[in-house]
């Protein structure tokens, strides 16, 4: 008896909690409204099933509670009912999966007009690299990382010279400009996570991963690490600022390039002549391990 009442309270209480809860999604700031829609659809379909099953169970507990003189119904199987239940469940599953997979198709199909932005993770901070005026990121490798070249940019790749480097500072993104976030780590796993963008993806050392999105709301957002990366995991933070075009251009013009910030590393001959102590830089063209960030990283992510 008590259990029947408690079950009803749980069913109704859960619905009330859901409606009145102060805890819900942060306001969306990207094009991924389809992800939110998929969650709302899932909530409706599964929520109805949840309440029906619990209330039915409560009814059974009350209606068929033990009575000495009563005898349970004997019916080992009811194939017709089981088939119906299977079909209804399968229909529900299709209704969940279809909008999900349609949205996923958008998620994995990167549009033509994206600009690339590289996110570089290391224990425990974030840096960023923009392609510069040529629109191309230089190739890079963890093997090339040192104090004079914290991004590990290949000095022999001309595309890398004008790459804009942002260290220990906010990343700015242009409003309504689709962006492909190329994710690279030089030590362990990390995950670039901005709750308002919805999309997130791991950074995996040894490969370049990616996701794409369009920032749709100007503002300042927290960047968090969402993949355990050691004792500093919770403190690995940064900020991303979404600007309208004018403000973005103004910010960009104040940023420095690889060649300007690290002339020693960016110009190999100079570095070799000026400082004999510098280790020789491996030849990028012969190094299979050098990652070509400007190529489609999706190929590299197949493991």
């Amino acid at each position: 008896m008590v259990i029947a009442v408690v079950l009803v309270i749980i069913a109704i209480g859960s619905v009330i909690f859901h409606i009145w809860s102060p805890w819900w999604f942060t306001p969306l700031a990207s094009n991924w409204g389809a992800l939110d829609d998929a969650i709302v659809i899932t909530f409706w379909i599964t929520g109805v099933a949840y309440v029906i099953v619990i209330l039915f169970m409560a009814y059974c507990c009350w209606r068929y509670r033990y009575k000495k003189e009563r005898r349970a119904h004997y019916e080992p199987e009811n194939p017709k009912m089981e088939w119906w239940l299977s079909i209804v469940t399968a229909v529900g599953v299709v209704a969940l999966l279809t909008p999900g997979l349609i949205a996923w198709n958008d998620f994995v199909t990167v549009p033509e007009n994206v600009v690339e932005v590289e996110v570089l993770g290391k224990q425990w901070d974030w840096s960023y690299r923009l392609p510069g005026k040529d629109g191309k990121l230089g190739t890079s490798s963890a093997r090339l990382v040192n104090d004079d070249n914290p991004f590990g940019i290949n000095p022999k790749d001309p595309n890398g010279k004008d790459d804009v480097l942002i260290e220990g500072d906010d990343l700015h993104l242009k409003l309504d400009q689709p962006v492909k976030m190329l994710l690279r780590s030089i030590d362990v796993l990390h995950d670039f996570y901005v709750p308002q963008f919805r999309a997130k993806m791991d950074l995996v050392p040894g490969m370049v991963t990616f996701f794409w999105m369009t920032p749709t709301r100007a503002g300042t957002f927290d960047v968090l690490c969402a993949e355990l990366c050691g004792v500093g995991h919770h403190a690995m933070r940064s900020t991303v600022v979404v600007d309208a075009e004018g403000a973005y251009d103004k910010w960009l013009s104040g940023q420095e390039t690889f060649a300007a910030l690290y002339p020693k590393a960016a110009n190999v001959r100079q570095a070799a002549a000026g400082s004999p102590a510098t280790e020789p830089v491996p030849d990028a063209s012969q190094e299979k391990t050098i990652l070509t960030a400007s190529e489609s990283p999706s190929n590299q992510s197949v493991q």
């Binding site: 169970m57 239940l85 224990q123 994710l183 490969m207």
Partner: protein, 599 residues
């Protein structure tokens, strides 16, 4: 329609193999310590699993203290917090749940329920326990080595698991991996026993389709484990080699502290694939025995046959098969080829269909039953609700698009605790209250049981239901402290305090449970042989607790399925599996199926 499972006149094949004499222990040591009797081994397994499980429980308190009241406890820093998280997860999943369901319930129930005198390889069964104990001791030792246990998260993802910046990288991770290797060796010895015993040692008349679902669940879970654990085994060995002798199976070139490490070209993703190729079946290694046990207990206490027995068996088999093709749904944000998402989302949602059917059939077993709301039955009802909740949130996380925003948030923590933490634990409690009378000959105390049930059931719901909503907000999991953010409202802190307080209350209620067991062993009400009027063979033993060899002179012969409850035209509301058809007392009345109240 269902005569296949019910027909009492089915031919009972003669025993084809003569009984082999059992090993008979001569001394105290061989009887109670180095015992080859599955029932003693079961209790050894259970005792060890519960002991290490209590360590896991205390670790969860420490974790929750930090989350609910950050900056309050000087003995918890980031290092120890991540160590608590890691050890809690690994202990609960592997060393408690897997060991308790398979090594504990498997050992106790399989021989008794299929009508065997013991496991088919008793000596190897004994070794299985001692190797398991060794694994637990190695794991425990990691708390006492310099640097402490590993803090890499229970998933032990490289490179971070064996790289600087992670606590326990000196010795903890090595002991963890070695312990896992020993666990798998020990499990394989026991697992082979469970499978072969079910296939070879069933008593006469015990066809596969007459086996209780408990046996089906444990049997299928064991096959899963025998196929899945090798993936973890090789991953563990490879990571040990990476850590100890500098190979690069999982380690790419990486820079730490400005230094390029000696690793080269390894693949962190390869480890994740191997880990989850084990890790997803692992969910069902824990869940399938729970499914089986709950089916049987509901049937007994609702005085009604399990609804759709054959469907239940095939659902177990279907879930087991599908569980090997869904693993990468744990890796939607891992950076693997995003096109995998289509495949794994589809397989994952397909697995929901047989799982949902099982749930419907449990509820339909209650329907038109004659439900005795005993403590085991209450726990089963709590299980159905909890599992329903956890299964539904699984539909969120399995659907790749929905997973992306929720992955690595507290939503995931709430989901997997509901579905493979709390739900199986509720079944364990149901099983203990149900079978304790057989194991000890005494009943557990009803009042304490009621207290334990209500606090555990309501408490766990209060802990995990609101926790999902922290995930919606975007609160990440595995955070020692949240720091300043612009999106986490102060009310989330209040919720965290509330959850921590409920965790401590639920934790203390478990003390009542343990006291109940310890006191009832000596002072409990005598139970008799079959206090629940159940049909299955373990309740039909000559003595309670069952003696060495389980059954008396003669092994029982099975004449019918395990669910002959409230059969129309039969006097009693249950017919034991081994009761010869000529001994069944029919009621005088209508033979065609008097379905409501009668007599």
């Amino acid at each position: 329609m269902s005569n296949g499972v019910l027909d009492e006149t089915q031919i009972i094949p003669a025993a084809e193999v003569e009984e082999v004499d059992l090993y008979h222990a001569k001394s105290y040591w061989t009887k109670y310590v180095f015992s080859q009797d599955a029932k003693v081994i079961a209790i050894q397994y259970s005792g060890t699993a519960v002991a290490i499980g209590l360590v896991g429980l205390v670790l969860s308190w420490l974790m929750r203290l930090q989350l609910g009241f950050p900056d309050t406890f000087s003995f918890i820093d980031a290092d120890t917090y991540y160590q608590h998280v890691t050890m809690h997860g690994m202990i609960m999943v592997i060393y408690l749940l897997t060991a308790l369901f398979l090594g504990g319930f498997g050992n106790y129930l399989i021989p008794l329920m299929v009508g065997a005198r013991d496991m088919v390889f008793p000596y190897m069964n004994m070794l299985s326990y001692w190797v398991y104990l060794l694994a637990v001791l190695i794991l425990t030792a990691s708390f006492f080595v310099p640097g402490g246990p590993t803090g890499a998260g229970w998933t032990l993802y490289p490179p971070q698991a064996i790289a600087q910046g992670t606590p326990g990288v000196e010795y903890g991770i090595i002991l963890m991996l070695v312990s896992l290797v020993f666990f798998i060796i020990g499990f394989t010895m026991g697992g082979l026993n469970y499978v072969v015993t079910v296939l070879q040692a069933r008593t006469r008349g015990m066809t596969l389709m007459r086996m209780p679902l408990t046996v089906w669940g444990i049997f299928t879970a064991t096959i899963l484990a025998l196929l899945a654990f090798p993936a973890l085994f090789v991953a563990g060995i490879m990571m040990l080699l990476d850590r100890m002798i500098g190979t690069s199976f999982f380690m790419p070139e990486m820079v730490q502290g400005g230094e390029l490490l000696a690793y080269n070209n390894g693949s962190p993703l390869l480890f994740q694939h191997l880990f989850w190729f084990f890790g997803h079946p692992e969910v069902y290694i824990v869940a399938l025995p729970a499914f089986g046990v709950v089916s049987d207990i509901i049937s007994v206490h609702a005085r009604k046959n399990i609804f759709g027995y054959r469907m239940m068996v095939w659902a177990i088999v279907a879930i087991a098969g599908l569980s090997f093709v869904v693993w990468a749904h744990h890796m939607y944000v891992s950076g693997m080829n995003p096109y995998f998402g289509f495949f794994f989302a589809t397989t994952t949602l397909i697995i929901a269909v047989p799982t949902a059917l099982k749930l419907y059939n449990w509820v339909l077993t209650l329907w038109k039953g004659n439900i005795q709301l005993t403590i085991p039955m209450l726990y089963c009802i709590a299980f159905i609700l909890t599992f329903l909740n956890g299964g539904i949130t699984g539909l969120f996380l399995g659907n790749v698009t929905v997973d992306i925003p929720l992955s690595d948030t507290m939503f995931v923590v709430a989901h997997f605790h509901m579905v493979m933490g709390i739900a199986p634990v509720l079944v364990i409690f149901a099983a203990v209250y149900h079978w304790f009378p057989k194991m000890s000959g005494r009943m557990l105390h009803e009042g304490w049981g009621q207290f334990h049930f209500w606090v555990t059931f309501i408490g766990t719901y209060l802990i995990y239901f609101p926790m999902h909503y922290l995930g919606f907000v975007g609160v990440p999991r595995r955070y020692f402290e949240k720091g300043e953010t612009s999106f986490i409202p102060p009310s989330a802190e209040t919720l965290n305090e509330f959850i921590t307080i409920v965790v401590l209350i639920v934790g203390l209620a478990q003390v009542v449970f343990i006291i109940n067991i310890l006191v009832s062993i000596w002072k409990g009400k005598p139970a008799g042989d079959n206090p629940w009027n159940a049909t299955t063979l373990e309740w039909q033993t000559a003595t309670t607790p069952p003696g060495h060899g389980n059954f008396g002179e003669e092994l029982p012969v099975t004449y019918r399925w395990a669910y002959a409850y409230s059969v129309p035209g039969v006097e009693a509301d249950f017919v034991p599996q081994n009761l010869p058809p000529e001994d069944v007392i029919h009621s005088g009345g209508d033979q065609s199926g008097d379905q409501s109240g009668r007599q």
